[in-house]
Amino acid sequence: MAQVKLNRVVKEYEGGVQAVKGIDLDIADHEFVVLVGPSGCGKSTTLRMIAGLEEISRGDILIGGTVVNDIPPRDRDIAMVFQNYALYPHMSVYDNMAFGLMLRKFPKEEIRRRVENAARILDIGMLLDRKPKALSGGQRQRVAMGRAIVRDPKVFLFDEPLSNLDAKLRVQMRTEIKKVHQTVKTTTVYVTHDQVEAMTLADRVVVMNHGVIEQVGPPTELYHKPATKFVAGFIGSPAMNFIPARLANGSGALNILLPGGISLPVPEARAKRYTGHAGKEVLFGIRPEHLTEVRPNDHRPNLAPLQLTPEVVEPMGMETLAHIWLEGAEIVARIDPSVPAEPGRALPLAADMGQMHLIDPQTDRVI
């Protein structure tokens, strides 16, 4: 087990296209770090550079304190789980898991002990004689994880391992992966485009976009204190609402002026932070779950009432999503299913201003 360190790592393809633009990252021993971002953000390339499957154009990657830039994958002491499992189709489950150990000339008894131990952790003991084609998607993914576990490597690398599974199995395997990590505690780098997977699995989430790291932090920190508009919009589902607004300084208090003549008061605790932007155009960000129906005896401080008219209402069962168009900006409110909401009928809502964010439209950074 080991730390992983990335120093100013750059991946440049022929023609000068940069997939990864000089990223720094420190991953602690035993840590579970998830790289998340949209397609083409450089997350998979970063993982493959750690694995040694892609060469590094510039910078250094250190595993366990050793620079591994020029070390082939087999000597980096890492194990990887692929999106399409990459099981050897002609080998039994046992041989798939034992292959790496056999190549490394482990004694037969030791191989058997390790494979059986991994099979027990993953509950695939009864599948050891089967070929991969006789397994379901979930079972294949377990075998792929088993192949990684038996090696007892310094680092586990996961490349979108759940993307090929159906929604229900994905949730189940997510829990399995977390359980396995809690058992074996190997340093893990996990790549996904699914922010829910990132939030639920990670000790720390690394949000990437266009080859750079937007923000690194524990899931709750990313959710409550996003550093950029991208992170604010990427983390959370449904995504945060962004409404063009102006920060007005009237009668000693700051107000946010939204389209349609709506004015919302800025909480006192935030006033100092925003004073420098008074009078300027900003983006007002608020998550759908902080724009709710007016509840009786609601004791949340900083609630601001506003009246909006939904155009589309989506009942989800445990909640209802009301879609509102405010002069070009789409706003989603998350309301209780018991609230009678109808398209075209004004709905009294409450914005939890304690949870609001203001974004500088020039820099896209959260103020």
Binding site: A51, F82, Q83, A86, Y88, H90, F99, R151
Partner: protein, 300 residues
């Protein structure tokens, strides 16, 4: 549901034609398919059947045909016995076997290594080389045998089966390499990457992953190499004149046709015996052969 949709005889509104019947269309498709297949089968099977019938006739019956030639009046195996008991014919058979086994082994070793490197080790010029390999296959052997005659002569292998072992791979290697490139390319890249991370080097990746996974492709290529070298005619005709070095294909023709005298019974028996090994090979490996040729055609 409306009444028009339920009645097959009604016209389709706006289209001006009658609604078809799925059952009737299917029946017609089946009838057409059966007729075409029966005709194709007759066309394909008639020559070998005629060969078999002729080989079972005596010379007298062949030279004095009475009535339909499709009936054997006095069946005999004497043509077969005459060939099998002839040491020269056994020599032809052994020569063919020797050349074919050597060519198949040589071809597969070269093709698998070449295809693996061209499909997987991206190096400067690998794409051009892969295309070049295929282009060489397009040059017909009727064009090549003259320059090859010079080469085989220069290395002193004219009138020797080893000369054939040297030149047949020029026919088999390009096509087999091409088949194997396609097959190796259809193996997901992640499989190599998993093997690399598991600790395999290139050779282990080839022997422990690629060859077992690509076995259907390798068998298809093997059958191709076997058929080509077993059935080759132009090269042995050009390079071999000594009967003791002749393979079956030209041995049968050169020894059983004397001037304008054709030993038809033995010719047919010889041709059938010569066709037997490929038939046996195909019969055992047919499923692999088909799987190999259709690899990558559909998503696995």
């Amino acid at each position: 549901m409306s009444a028009t949709a339920a009645t097959p005889s009604a016209a389709i509104p706006g289209l001006g034609r009658r609604i078809g019947s799925l059952r009737k269309e299917r029946r017609w498709a089946l009838i057409t398919a059966y007729i075409s297949l029966v005709i194709a089968a007759i066309v394909m099977l008639a020559p070998p059947l005629y060969m078999l019938l002729t080989s079972l006739k005596t010379s007298a019956e062949i030279s004095n045909p009475v009535g339909t030639p499709w009936i054997v009046r006095h069946p005999t195996l004497e043509n077969y016995w005459a060939l099998i008991s002839d040491p020269m014919f056994r020599g032809f058979f052994f020569n063919s076997l020797k050349v074919t086994v050597c060519v198949v082994v040589l071809t597969m070793v070269i093709s698998v290594l070449a295809a693996f490197s061209l499909a997987r080790m991206k190096f400067f010029g690998s794409q051009v080389l892969a295309t070049g390999v295929f282009l060489t296959y397009l040059v017909p052997d009727t064009l090549l045998f003259i320059p090859l005659y010079q080469i085989v002569g220069a290395v002193g292998l004219l009138n020797s089966t080893w000369g054939l072992v040297l030149v047949y791979p020029t026919l088999t290697v390009p096509f087999c390499t091409w088949i194997m490139i396609g097959y190796f390319a259809s193996i997901p890249k992640e499989l190599d990457e998993a093997a690399l991370i598991d600790g395999a080097n290139w050779m282990q990746m080839l022997t422990k992953i690629f060859i077992p996974v690509a076995l259907p492709g390798i068998i298809a290529a093997t059958i191709f190499a076997f058929t080509v070298s077993w059935a080759a005619f132009v090269y042995p005709t050009a390079f071999i004149t000594r009967p003791d070095e002749m393979p079956l294909t030209i041995g049968v023709v050169s020894q059983l046709i004397r001037g304008d005298t054709f030993a038809w019974g033995q010719l047919m028996a010889g041709a059938l015996l010569a066709a037997l090994p490929p038939v046996v090979v195909y019969a055992f490996l047919m499923d692999y052969y088909i799987a190999g040729l259709t690899a990558g055609a559909t998503k696995g």
